[in-house]
Amino acid sequence: MAERRPDRTLGGPNDAFWASCAKGELRLQRCADCARYSWPPVESCEHCQSGALSWEPMSGKGSIAGWCSFEQDYYGGILPVPYDTILVELEEGPLFLSNPDDFTWRDIKPGMAVELRFRECEDSAGGFSLPVFAKA
């Protein structure tokens, strides 16, 4: 059964991001002019404002750069507390905020290797695949 989640931001380039996730791919925007990544989705490169962006597939490999665990319920019970969030440094460089799939903050060692998974979720706009990370 799909897991309930707070609403995504949709529209414009966000839709392309979630469409990739639906195919089991994590793709981020990369600039053809300065070669840097932008995340979250943008209309033009966040570094050089170029409009020459393409959606590049990520390997799904990364390491933990930070974490925090919510004890306070900010979402009116949609997500039962406590729950954990992690900041993953993707192999390609960008920092990607996500959830741990098969571990908790207590298991985290600095720089711990993780790999991409998808979890079936739903919000008020419908079902979607949420990128999360498991121990590598």
């Binding site: 609403d7 004890e71 920092l95 905020l97 996500s98 919000d123």
Partner: protein, 406 residues
């Protein structure tokens, strides 16, 4: 004209604007009493409304300045969550200013902006009034409160992963800091304890009970690794600063405090990197150096610092980022008393956002004025001539340098 909603367009750091304006009056609402009343809600209690709070702060600042109502020829209002029409507020306060405007909100730009207006001849003496009522208004600082178009991207984009709130920003920073430097929660607790000690020397501070590291550790987690006492207060209140042309301030009722330097720097890209990994050091270094250069003082001249303590760890970001101490040494500096009265850099001496009042950077300026005047009573920093305040959020830094005038 920016109104209440937008960022204030501030003039860039320039020596020609340094020491041209002085703060000659300060006033605040009753942070402690209003907070207690709002919590206990005695029978018949009604929280003072925004305009009443702003009026109270104004009357105190006016009395403090020794000026008369007719001396005030400019009115500048800053209300983060909306506020009165400036002309209506001027009437309410019995003022007939040459201009009355809604300048902005948090302490990110209004002082440079008003200084430039004074230098341009738009007014000689401006009453700047800030007011907010987030507590009685039930404002929440996380969750679905923020969505596209309402607040910075990092406040809403990560909703599907459940990541939101001010506290989450600081929590992510501290978990990274722990991994880098081996800091423990108890070490961070020293910051909350130090600021509470300061608050207990300020009768208008909201939090007056003694705090120990054990008491800090016993406070509930909001977002691990941060406890409730790592996060700033949320309260209603108002602050007024009366700012005058510097030459007009000579021989005023109180020693004038000169606005000597400022600057501003913002994170433009890679926000998570800037916030979590860099802990804003590049923008703090850049903005700090330019503000000091404008004021023509050195970092080592700064004898008192009022940082933006939205969180304990964020105060440490600023102490380290501006270069008062080396990277990774901020918590040891605090534990050894460096931020206390008598330490090398007395910091947030009125109790800060954590223990005194959360006035979005405005109370820090009031405390700086009191310290430079030598009127801080039991929390006075001895022999002070140069002080620094900083409005520092998750993606911008705005340091201000103040010096004692004559």
């Amino acid at each position: 004209m920016s109104g209440y909603g937008g960022a204030v367009e501030m003039p860039p750091a320039s020596r020609t604007l340094g020491r041209r304006a002085a703060i000659v009056g300060v006033g605040e609402s009753d942070f402690h009493d209003d907070y207690q009343a709002e919590r206990t809600r005695p029978a018949g209690y009604r929280a003072p409304d925004l305009e009443a709070l702003m009026e109270r702060a104004f009357e105190r600042a006016l009395a403090d300045s020794g000026l008369s109502r007719s001396d005030i020829d400019g009115l500048s209002l800053c209300c983060t969550y909306g506020g009165p029409e400036p002309a209506d507020m001027a009437r309410r306060l019995g003022l007939a200013p040459r201009y009355a405007e809604a300048t902005g909100n948090i302490m990110a730009g209004p002082i440079p902006r008003i200084t430039a207006d004074i230098v341009d001849g738009k007014a000689d003496v401006v009453a700047m009034i800030f007011g907010v009522t987030p507590r009685s208004g039930g404002r929440r600082y996380g969750g679905a409160t923020f969505s596209a178009g309402l607040g910075p991207l990092s406040y809403y984009y990560y909703h599907p992963w459940g990541w939101s709130s001010q506290a989450a920003h600081w929590a992510l920073m501290f978990s990274h800091y722990q991994a880098m430097y081996g800091a423990r929660e108890e070490d961070l607790g020293a910051v909350a304890v130090q600021l509470r000690e300061h608050a207990r020397r300020n009768p208008n501070a909201i939090m007056q009970k003694p705090l120990t590291v054990e008491g800090y550790m016993a406070s509930r987690y909001v977002v691990r690794p941060l406890h409730l006492l790592d996060i700033c207060l949320v309260n209603d209140g108002a602050v007024c600063l009366i700012v005058s042309r510097a030459e007009f301030a000579r021989g005023a009722a109180r020693p004038p405090v000169l606005v000597a330097g400022w600057s501003h720097a913002a994170v433009k890209a890679d926000k998570m990197q800037a916030m979590v990994r860099d802990r804003l050091r590049p923008i703090l270094q850049d903005a700090g150096a330019r503000a000091l250069a404008m004021a023509d003082v050195a970092l080592s001249d700064v004898g008192h610092f009022e940082g933006y303590d939205a969180s304990t760890i964020h105060l440490i970001n600023q102490i380290e980022g501006f270069g008062f101490v080396a990277q990774g040494e901020g918590l040891e500096f605090c534990k050894s008393g460096g931020m206390g009265l008598g330490g090398r850099l007395p910091t947030n001496t009125c109790g800060g956002n954590l223990s005194a009042s959360y006035m979005q950077g405005w109370s820090q300026v009031v405390e700086t004025v009191r310290q430079l005047r030598g009127e801080a009573g039991p929390r006075q920093v001895a022999g002070l001539n140069v002080a620094m305040t900083a409005l520092t959020q998750t993606s911008q830094a705005h340091p201000l340098i103040f010096v004692k005038g004559d």
